[in-house]
């Protein structure tokens, strides 16, 4: 019994209780400003959800779109990679997979800083162009950094290897005899792919998409390092409220919204991600 309770209780105390507290803050029941009166109030919530032209709501939707686009791009970019690993790489494919995944296990922060070094106004790309005489010295390409492009690029870079993994697993486990059967029935390679391989790989594709979608929704580090004022994400607003203003109540509204949207995403896409954790030993689906 202890083995089940201890970890569960730990999660409750360290994670659930803080979220509940944030909830209470968002409804005005608690405050961090000494001497302020507290009472149940939905004013911050209604301001965020329904206030005319609320900029945080605007940023929320922009952020969501960026996240969906980046996740989609990463999934699209990862598919050929997974396909290569499963069908072309042959015997050494697990080693090659390791080669692809290894950067993912180095420091995320360092990799974003590396992109900062590459993209910045006197960074690798710009100074290379100046040295080669392709661009007037001192004139940097302005959209390379502190832009939506840089944020999207960094996020894409960070997640492509990770997304390739579930797709690869599915493709790798694909029963090759099915492909042979399709060929025997007269299908060409492309046709086989469209009608057999791809549809069967969809669970892996969706899993990969969700694997990148959920963490990216709350992303705020990349915009801090390579993003500009017009490319900040929703996570940055949350961070700003808690570090730049004393308004923890409004910040809590934003934080809780982020949690809610992630749970919704999970509910929508989670059906595709199997979990054998929920089955007891010996049980089948």
């Amino acid at each position: 019994m202890l083995t089940a309770i201890t970890p569960s209780a730990y999660v409750v105390i360290v994670l659930l209780v803080p979220i509940v507290l944030i909830g209470l803050y968002s409804f005005g029941l608690m405050t961090n400003v000494v001497g302020t009166h507290t009472a149940f109030s939905t004013s911050d919530w209604s301001d965020f959800l329904t206030g005319a032209g609320n900029p945080f709501r605007g940023r929320f939707f922009t952020s969501l779109i960026v996240t969906l686009v980046v996740s989609g791009a990463a999934t699209l970019g990862a598919y050929p990679l997974a396909y290569f690993l499963a069908f072309v790489a042959g015997r050494h494919r697990y080693t090659v997979l390791l080669l692809i995944l290894a950067p993912f296990f180095t420091s995320y922060l360092l990799r974003v800083i590396a992109w900062q070094v590459i993209l910045s106004n006197n960074g690798v790309i710009n100074s290379a162009l100046w040295s080669l005489g392709l661009r007037a010295h001192g004139h940097a390409i302005s959209w390379l950094i502190y832009s939506k492009f840089s944020v999207a690029l960094v996020l894409f870079y960070a997640w492509v290897p990770f997304v390739a993994l579930p797709i690869f697993v599915v493709l790798d486990n694909l029963d090759r005899r099915l492909l042979d059967a399709a060929h025997d029935l007269g299908a060409g390679r492309f046709s086989t792919f469209m009608r057999v391989t791809f549809p069967m790989s969809l669970p892996g594709v969706v899993a990969g998409f969700v694997f990148v979608l959920i963490p990216t929704t709350g992303e705020f580090i990349a915009p801090l390092l390579v993003g500009g004022p017009s490319s900040q994400l929703f996570g940055n607003s949350i961070q700003a409220f808690f570090s730049d203003t004393p308004d923890w109540q409004y910040g809590s509204v934003l934080a809780l919204t982020l949690v809610a949207i992630v749970l919704i995403m999970l509910a929508v896409f989670g059906r595709f991600i199997g979990g054998d954790l929920t089955r007891a030993e010996g049980e089948t689906v």
């Binding site: 083995t3 089940a4 970890p7 569960s8 730990y10 999660v11 994670l15 659930l16 209780v17 803080p18 979220i19 507290l21 961090n32 970019g77 050929p80 396909y83 290569f84 069908f87 072309v88 390791l98 692809i100 290894a102 950067p103 296990f105 180095t106 420091s107 995320y108 922060l109 360092l110 800083i113 590396a114 900062q116 070094v117 590459i118 690798v124 290379a128 040295s131 870079y157 290897p161 090759r176 492909l179 390679r189 086989t192 709350g218 580090i221 801090l224 390092l225 996570g235 949350i238 961070q239 808690f242 809590s252 934080a255 949690v259 979990g275 954790l277 929920t278 007891a280 030993e281 010996g282």
Partner: protein, 278 residues
Amino acid sequence: MKAVGRTGRAVLSTYFGLLVVFLYAPLVVLVVFAFNAGNIPSLPIESFSTKWFSSAFSDTTLTSALLRSFLIAVVNGLAATLLGVMAAVSLARRRLALRGVVVTLILIPLVVPYIVLAVGMVVLLHELGIATSLVAVLAGHVVISLPYSVLVILPRLRTLDPSISEAALDLGASELRAFWFVTLPLMAPALFSSFLIAFTISFDEFAIASFLAPPGSPTYPVVLYSSSRTPALLPEVIAIGSIVIVLSLALVVLAEVARRTAERRIEARTEAPPLTAG
């Protein structure tokens, strides 16, 4: 017929090659500029120099932050693995009350954005009247590492041949002894993986640390972040960063090699004798 034809192979292989270059280019950039004598990481490279390494190692703010992060990551690895073993043991049982609740709780940290957890813990500490501290950072790291630990340990636990620990019990060992001397060693590769994953998560974690590490004792990612915005401190950051990258790549390779070796050895030892006909 092969699934991929000749043109297909060429296209996919080219794509793969480009992607590998794309993935490793930033890492190479960091390592190259770590040896750049210039003050700004800009081309052309001025001259080869190791001065940023010596400068970084004599910067006690940076080195003490590295040490702090290392220690927190080690403790996090141990604590998350311990909790992960406990959770895995309970989930591997045939019957478990409120199984769904336990699973949900164990997996929730996977979906809560770190920024929300960070500000939530700030609020919690504030309400409890506790000051921010490295212990709080550790507590946050343990909770986010826990699901990964369970996800690595539980499958391994499930694939173990139960007859081995049953044999131990038949021989008179208590459940705890059987677990400690029989089951646990058999899970060694998974425990090691869990430790490594938790270590990696903690060492690089920024969101929680940025809010909960006391200003006088920042962790390495926090120092990394603030230094990256100060041009004067960037070269040192790159120097240390290149070491971290090389070490972590080496670690990934070593871990995989060790895991495969260990698994092969354990399977060889615990292989059931082949069934003979008749």
